[in-house]
C-alpha cells in the first residue's frame, strides 16, 4: 500500500499586511492623542453633558482632592519661573536659580510656601507622594492660594482661563472656600473640568 503523501505546507505567514495595519494605527494614535501630563493628585471628576472643550494654552489648573487640599499649576514654563520670583518676593523667600528652574518643570504642586524649598529639593518622583501633598493653604487666616492666583493673573494677563478640577466626593465647603477666594479676586468666571456624559434621551 502506498504511503499517503502529506504535502508539507510552509508555515510562513506574510506579516507585511499586519505590519502595515499596526503602523497605520500607530500614526493615527500619535496624531490624535496628546500626552497625559502628570498631576499632583489623581482626582476623578464628575460627569456632565457639557461639551465645551478646555482651552489649550494659557490655562491655570486648580486641583482639589477629596480631602479638600488645593493644588495649583499654570501651563507656561517661563511664567512659572516668573511666578516663583514674585511669590518669593512677597513672602520674603529667596529662591536660587536652580530652584526656579526646577519649579518651571513642575506641572502642579500643592505645598505651602514655607515648604516649597524642601519640595523643590526632592527628586521629581518623590514629589507626588502622599506625605508631600500638603495642599496650599486656602482659608481666611492664611490664604496663600489667593496670592498664587493673583500673581498668576498678573503674569499671564486677562486671557488666562481658570480650570477647576475637583474630586466628586470633595465636600462642598472646601470648594466654596476656593470659589470664594477666586471671587474675592474678581475672578468670576471659571471652567469646571468634567467628563463627558450623554445627553438624556428625549430632551
Amino acid at each position: 500500500m502506498p504511503k499517503a503523501k502529506i504535502a508539507r505546507k510552509s508555515t510562513f505567514v506574510d506579516m507585511t499586511a499586519m505590519t502595515d495595519v499596526a503602523f497605520l494605527l500607530l500614526n493615527f494614535i500619535l496624531l490624535t492623542s496628546n500626552f497625559v501630563k502628570p498631576e499632583a493628585v489623581s482626582v476623578s471628576a464628575p460627569s456632565s453633558v457639557s461639551e465645551v472643550k478646555i482651552p489649550e494654552v494659557n490655562i491655570m489648573t486648580i486641583l482639589v482632592d477629596p480631602d479638600g487640599k488645593v493644588f495649583f499649576g499654570i501651563d507656561n514654563q517661563d511664567a512659572r519661573v516668573e511666578l516663583l520670583s514674585k511669590i518669593g518676593d512677597s513672602y520674603n523667600i529667596s529662591f536660587t536659580a536652580q530652584e526656579k528652574k526646577e519649579f518651571g518643570l513642575v506641572n502642579s504642586f500643592g505645598v505651602p510656601v514655607e515648604s516649597l524649598k524642601a519640595f523643590l529639593a526632592l527628586p521629581s518622583d518623590k514629589r507626588s507622594l502622599k506625605e508631600n501633598a500638603l495642599g496650599i493653604p486656602c482659608d481666611s487666616i492664611n490664604n496663600q492660594f489667593k496670592t498664587w492666583v493673583k500673581f498668576a493673573r498678573e503674569i499671564n494677563g486677562k486671557d488666562m482661563a481658570i480650570a477647576i478640577k475637583c474630586d466628586q466626593t470633595t465636600p462642598y465647603p472646601k470648594i466654596k472656600n476656593v470659589m470664594n477666594s477666586l471671587q474675592e479676586l474678581r475672578e468670576n468666571r471659571f471652567n469646571l473640568i468634567t467628563n463627558l456624559e450623554g445627553m438624556p434621551q428625549g430632551l
Binding site: M15, M18, A22, I29, S50, E51, D167, N188, L192, L203
Partner: protein, 212 residues
Amino acid sequence: MSEIVVEDKGGKKNKVKRLSTRVDMAPMCDLGFLLITFFMLSTSMAKPQTMDLNMPSRDKVSEAESSKVKESQAVTVLLGKDDKVYYFFGSASEEKIPDLKASNFSPSGIRDVLLQRNAEVAIQMRDLRAKLKKREISDEEFAKKSVEIKSSKNAPTVIIKATDEANYKNMVDILDEMQICSISRYALVDITDYDKELIKELENPGSSMLKK
C-alpha cells in the same frame, strides 16, 4: 537580483541561485504593536470637557441695579446630604413658610420638576436640538436661537444653595440639570440658617425652630 541571468543553451547547467526577497515581517509587526500599546497607555485621546460657570460679582450693587427675581418664577433648590435635593417655589420668609419638597437626582426627580417649570423653553429647545441633529440649521444659528429662547420672560430663575454636607458631585449635577433643562438663569448662593431649618423641619417634623 538586478543582474541579468544569461541563459546558457549549451547544455551545461549554470544556475544562479535565486535568493528569496522575502523578509520576515514578524519582528517589525511586534514592534509596531508594542509602540501602539505604549502610546495608548501614555496618552489620552479625549480632551477633558469643561463646564462654564459664572459666579455673581462680589462688587456692591446698588438696590436699583440689582435684578429682583420675580417671586412666581423663583425656584430654590437646596442640596442636602446623601445626594438629597430639596426645592420650593417662590420666596421664603418668616411669615410664609414655603412648601419644601424632597427630591433626588434621578431623571424623574428634580429634572422633572424643573422641566415642568420650564416647559415652554424646554419644548422649543428640544425642537431646536432636533433640527441641529438633522443639520437643518448651522451651529452658529443654533447658538443664537438657543440664547433667544432661553432668555424667555417666562423662564424660571433657579437659586441653588448647597449645604455643607453636599459634595462637589451634587454641585456639578445640579448645574448639569440646568443645562439639560435649558435654564439660563441660575445662581449659586450661600445657604442661610433659615434654609437649614427648613430642611431640618422636613426631615424631622417638630425638631426645628420654625414657627408653625
